[in-house]
């Protein structure tokens, strides 16, 4: 019998809010699925579409991007710009055939440890339901 599928999810967390939220979830001993691999970014506005594509290309089953709530950005407006970028990015990726449940966005503040826990759980459940990523993975040639 094969093992149940455990997805690999790349989580891009903004340094000031969501990363703090993850930290608080940790020190508060909140349980959440261990499927996320966290990459800390200075601001959600720093997220380049290339990061998401690179994650999928290297075999991530899902990607989750999280930043400060609108109005709370450490750099005043980084997440407002990011929001427009994300809307178009998600639209085009899904238009091209990536399943809607593979790419997630959220706002989690550094005080919202429970929201962090809830979002990790819902993202993991959604990606798990889709199964392993079938598309967009670059198959490396033998010996590369």
């Amino acid at each position: 019998m094969s093992d149940p599928f455990e997805p690999k999810i790349i989580a891009f967390l903004c340094n000031w809010c969501s990363y703090g939220g993850a930290d608080l979830a940790g020190v508060s001993r909140l349980q959440y699925p261990p499927n996320i691999r966290v990459v800390r970014i200075p601001c959600s506005g720093r997220l380049d579409p290339k990061f998401i594509l690179a994650s999928f290309r290297r075999g991530a089953d899902g990607v989750w991007v999280s930043g400060c709530h609108p109005g709370d950005c450490h750099y005043i407006a980084g997440n407002y710009y990011a929001r427009r970028k994300f809307a178009l990015l998600k639209g085009l990726l899904e238009h091209m055939g990536i399943e809607p449940g593979r790419l997630h966005f959220s706002w989690v503040s550094s005080a919202e440890a429970t929201k962090f826990q809830e979002v990790v759980t819902s993202v993991t459940t959604a990606v798990k339901a889709l199964g392993p990523a079938k598309h967009y993975i670059k198959q490396m040639p033998e010996g590369a």
Partner: protein, 316 residues
């Protein structure tokens, strides 16, 4: 539209003689039929090279970024919109430009001519009024212009230049009743797997020549993402994932800037409908931010501004 030729030549000659501009950017006949080429003319006596017919599909705004001299430029509706974007993005100054506006009835897609001719090679293609006459080895065929237009011209809603110093013909009525996003909706109606296959099929023949990028007036970065090597975001191979990543990022870099001028599709040597990527973004930008690129000089592009109440129903 052949009758514009004389007017363009006269205007260019006048501007150069009066030393109002240092050079004129326009079109001249190419060495092959249906392939008019861009030309930069500095001397008044050379202005008779300038030419105009329905094969002037190249977007001349592509030749503006970072030029220092004062230029006159022949501009169709789409060219003028791209000129506005160049000005907005600081690539050229309005004072440097004298825009010769050419109301455009649509440019001919040479592939549609080849298809109509059924593989016969034309030696000469001449335009007169609303038809073209293709002459070749033992054949002479007359085709209606209306059946040969580029896909983006069929749905064009800005045939008249948006910004100009002089119009060389009377403004045309705009095509109000066309539905520009019919094909985008058709793809959206498919399920994820079918969409994946649709784009897989679409880009299957891509040879990664980057002609779509080079023809695009929006692409002027000193180092393109395809050439970055540390880190290398994009493999250089013909692996379908790399091809797909290239097309995705190329389109995304045009988000909120694309004028649907069709330069990319026109330049593609294998005939990939690359506008299918940019059109989805154009439609989303219009729906979400009520913005159409290159229509006014004032204001900033949609990804350079925000509103506190922008839609965010996709964010948890």
């Amino acid at each position: 539209m052949v009758e514009y030729t004389k007017k363009i030549q006269e205007t260019a000659k006048r501007l150069l003689t009066e030393k109002k501009v240092d050079a004129v950017i326009g079109y001249r006949r190419g060495t092959l039929p249906m392939m008019n080429e861009p030309v930069l003319i500095k001397e008044a006596e050379k202005t008779d090279q300038l030419y105009w017919d329905s094969f002037c599909g190249v977007n001349l705004a592509n030749y503006l970024p970072k030029r220092k001299e004062k230029l006159a430029i022949v501009a169709k509706g789409c060219d003028s919109r791209n000129i506005i974007i160049d000005i907005q993005e600081g690539q050229i100054k309005r004072e440097q430009l004298y825009i010769i506006g050419a109301p455009c009835t649509g440019m001919v897609d040479r592939r549609k001519v080849w298809t109509r001719l059924g593989g016969k090679e034309p030696f000469a293609v001449e335009e007169s009024k609303d038809q073209i006459v293709a002459t070749g080895n033992a054949f002479k065929e007359t085709l209606a212009l209306a059946d040969l237009l580029q896909d983006n011209c069929l749905i064009c809603q800005h045939r008249n230049p948006v910004l100009y110093d002089e119009l060389i013909a009377e403004a045309l009525p705009e095509q109000k009743e066309v539905d520009p996003y019919e094909d985008v909706r058709a793809v959206e109606a498919m399920d994820a797997e079918a969409r994946w296959q649709y784009f897989e099929e679409l880009t299957r023949t891509c040879i990664r020549c980057y002609a779509c990028r080079n023809a695009c007036p929006l692409c002027y970065c000193p180092t393109c993402f395809v050439d970055e090597s540390k880190p290398q975001w994009l493999g250089k191979s013909l692996d379908p994932t790399d091809v797909r990543t290239f097309h995705f990022l190329r389109a995304f870099h045009c988000a909120g800037r694309c004028t649907d001028c069709g330069a990319c599709e026109r330049a593609c040597p294998v005939g990939i409908k690359v506008r299918q990527f940019t059109k989805k973004l154009n439609r989303d930008v219009l729906d979400l931010y009520q913005f159409e690129s290159g229509l006014v000089l004032e204001g900033r592009p949609p990804l350079d501004v925000y509103r506190p109440d922008d839609p965010e129903n996709f964010i948890k």
